[in-house]
């Protein structure tokens, strides 16, 4: 990692931890609760993965929790959020319960996708959540459409979505921001620049130092923020949301952070330089926030312990429910393809032989 960048991030850190003035103590502790819950749910999912209870890809947001939590916390109830696969924390803030993630990842009956789709691919407008598909970039135009509809319906809402440094290379990112910009849609696109897209470093993805500079192609406001400072993220998002809500059009916000695990659970990220890992280990967003809370006397050790205990008991309870759930009915996988749910899609039976009509 180049020196200059390191300095820069360090400078931002101070600003980050200094923020959050407008939040009440209860809210500040709320943020801590979500950060911890995010981390602990994911740790439990990792354990389930190692036990073979979670199959397929499992994606961790370790080290990036402040982005999910801080940004989602800045939204108003009517706003709509579209998470990507590392935004479990955003979904928690929006009211998704741990049990849903367990059911979903363990592919069980009662899971939000009925075992059909995986990872964080669930939600629903009624919950203010639009889930992603795997194809990166696609949510940007989709959320532009959400913002457009919200304006038509006079809902005074802002649409927020996330994407990684890598996903900013997709055509859909460009088309979505292009449309949103000329239509001045209330959309906030938050880039989680975690320095890696699978094994591809951000330097191989773009020549820019700040991916937020991509905003310049659309003539829209931009911002860069320390993604490891939950208050900094909260405040930057709040400002962006405010701009967007005022009709200033879309805003592009870049949160600088680091992916602290492999791309997914099976990847040990051997390709990440050791010094880079070390640098960021010292900047764990939860540890930083903990220190801030203690130093600023917002909380005592005991308060934090209690929150932790609360998270853990919630998780135990939810996991028990999930573990007890049966698998979905196999046949259910062909239902709901259409609203009319044509019963169908059974293989045509082999017709019984009979004499030809005219032969």
């Amino acid at each position: 990692m180049p020196k200059t960048r390191r300095r820069r991030t360090t400078k931002k850190k101070t600003a980050a931890q200094a923020g959050g003035a407008a939040l009440t103590r209860a809210q500040l502790l709320d943020l801590y609760y979500y950060l911890r819950l995010n981390r602990l749910v994911e740790e439990r999912l990792s354990a389930l993965y190692r036990q073979g209870k979670v199959q397929g890809g499992l994606y961790s947001s370790r080290g990036q929790e402040a982005i999910s939590v801080g940004s989602a916390y800045a939204l108003a109830p009517q706003d709509v959020l579209a998470p990507m696969i590392r935004n479990l924390g955003s979904m928690l803030v929006r009211g998704v319960k741990p049990v849903e993630f367990f059911l979903q990842y363990m592919q069980q009956e009662g899971s939000p996708c009925k075992g059909r789709d995986t990872s964080l691919h669930f939600g629903g407008i009624e919950r203010g959540l639009v889930p992603p598909i795997s194809h990166l970039g696609t949510l940007v135009p989709v959320m532009a459409g959400v913002a457009l509809a919200g304006r038509m319906q006079a809902k005074n809402l802002v649409a927020l979505t996330y994407l990684g440094d890598g996903a900013t290379s997709t055509g859909d990112f460009h088309e979505g921001l292009g449309i949103a910009s000329v239509m001045r849609l209330p959309l906030v696109v938050l880039i989680e620049n975690n320095r890696w897209a699978y094994s591809t470093s951000v330097a191989a993805q773009s020549l820019l130092t700040d991916l937020a500079d991509k905003a310049r192609a659309y003539g829209i406001p931009q911002g860069v923020v320390d993604g490891n400072g939950v208050l900094a993220v909260y405040e930057a998002t709040a400002r962006a949301v405010e701009l967007a809500r005022r009709g200033q059009g879309p805003v592009l916000l870049e949160c600088k952070t680091m992916r602290m695990r492999g791309h997914s659970e099976h990847d040990d990220a051997w390709y990440v330089p050791e010094e880079e890992k070390h640098f960021w280990e010292k900047r764990d967003p939860i540890r930083l926030y903990e220190k801030h809370l203690l130093r600023s006397a917002v909380a005592q050790e005991a308060d934090l312990k209690e929150i932790d205990a609360r998270c853990l008991s919630e998780i135990e309870k939810d996991l028990a429910v999930a573990e007890a759930a049966p698998f979905p009915r196999p046949e259910s996988c062909v239902e709901d393809v259409y609203a009319s749910s044509r019963s169908e899609q059974e293989d045509e039976p082999v017709p019984a032989p009979r004499a030809a009509r005219r032969r």
Binding site: T138, V142, A144, G145, G178, S340
Partner: protein, 327 residues
């Protein structure tokens, strides 16, 4: 209203009435507002419905469809125009992966309509004459309609807009202003149900199964066959997904000889699927192989004599039908 109108006018009326009926309906696309669309399908809409509901977009088909999807998730009823349906290729991913699978994945319907001028016969060349239906017919979760008459053009666009699922609406540009298919439309509100074929002509000896502009060639061929003592039934599919398997089965059982006619290219065209359905449902009734008249496996050529050679026509249908009838 008792004047016969064009196929294009029927689409325009259908769109207009739905915009009047339901304020959740809006349109977006390139040059649909100020200009009224490259073919003038949306002429006058901007003036009537305003720029919030008739939106001129940048050139970004994936973005357009993505935005339509997002708006539909919010309860709106977006109608996205592709200036030529050929450009739908740029939105393939949003359509087949986002729109088609959302309901199945987590219960979120995506009631959008994607419409645009398809088909050849107007010297449009390889990028302004395509028939992209099969890319979408092969995608569970979508519906695909392709009206071949003026009445259906209106009834199906209305049905498409009211449908809870994503519908690809293929309007055939060769039919847009064709005098032959002008029709007096019902005064009252009507829809043509998605998923139902129509028997355009009853017959006993051979079935011609078709859709879109090819229907005219089939009717002409049927006329000629009639003079030769062969009674041909003409079935217009109207919807390609879901196919009306019952109607296909019925006509196959009735005549025992089936010729499928489509403008789309041959390999992987819908004729194959229909042949499979007939094998499964009416094999014992067959008095000859299920055959097909289609465009050959090549892009659509530009030059007039080439395009005329390329496209199916009444003579080709007649020729194949005669042979099958004599089988």
């Amino acid at each position: 209203m008792a004047e016969p109108v064009t196929y294009l006018e029927a689409i325009r009326q259908g769109l207009w009435e739905e915009m009047e009926r339901d304020e959740r309906v809006f349109m977006l696309g390139e040059d649909i507002g100020v200009y009224g669309g490259a073919f003038k399908v949306t002429k006058g809409f901007l003036e009537r419905f305003g720029k919030d509901r008739v939106i001129d977009t940048p050139i970004a088909e994936s973005g357009i469809v993505g935005a339509a999807i997002g708006a539909s998730l919010m309860g709106m009823r977006p109608v996205a125009e592709m200036q030529f349906i050929d450009f739908i290729a740029c939105a393939f991913n949003q359509i087949t992966n986002f729109a088609a699978k959302s309901r199945w994945r987590y219960g979120a319907g995506v009631p959008i309509v994607i419409r645009g001028p398809s088909g050849g016969g107007v010297r449009g060349g390889p990028f302004h004459s395509q028939n992209p239906e099969m890319y979408y017919v092969h995608t569970p979760g979508l519906k695909v309609v392709a009206p071949g008459t003026t009445h259906d053009a209106k009834g199906l666009i209305k049905a498409a807009i009211r449908d809870e699922d994503p519908v690809i609406y293929l309007e055939h540009k060769y039919l847009y202003r064709l005098p032959r298919i002008k029709e007096v439309l019902p005064e009252e509100d009507y829809v043509v149900p998605i998923g139902k074929a129509a028997v355009r002509r009853q017959g006993a000896d051979i079935s011609l199964i078709t859709y879109g502009a090819m229907q005219l060639h089939c009717l002409d061929a049927a006329e000629a066959l009639d003079k030769e003592g062969v009674s041909a039934e003409v079935v217009d599919l109207r919807t390609l997904l879901p196919l009306d398997a019952d109607a296909i089965e019925a006509t196959a059982k009735k005549t025992g000889k089936v010729l499928i006619v489509h403008e789309d290219t041959r390999t992987g065209g819908v004729a194959g699927e229909i042949t499979a359905l007939i094998n499964e449902r009416a094999f014992e009734y067959l008095d000859g192989p299920v055959l097909r008249v289609t465009s050959p496996d090549a892009p659509v050529p530009y030059s007039a004599p080439l395009e005329d050679y390329f496209l199916p026509n009444a003579a080709k249908v007649l020729d194949a039908a005669r042979k099958l009838a004599a089988y």
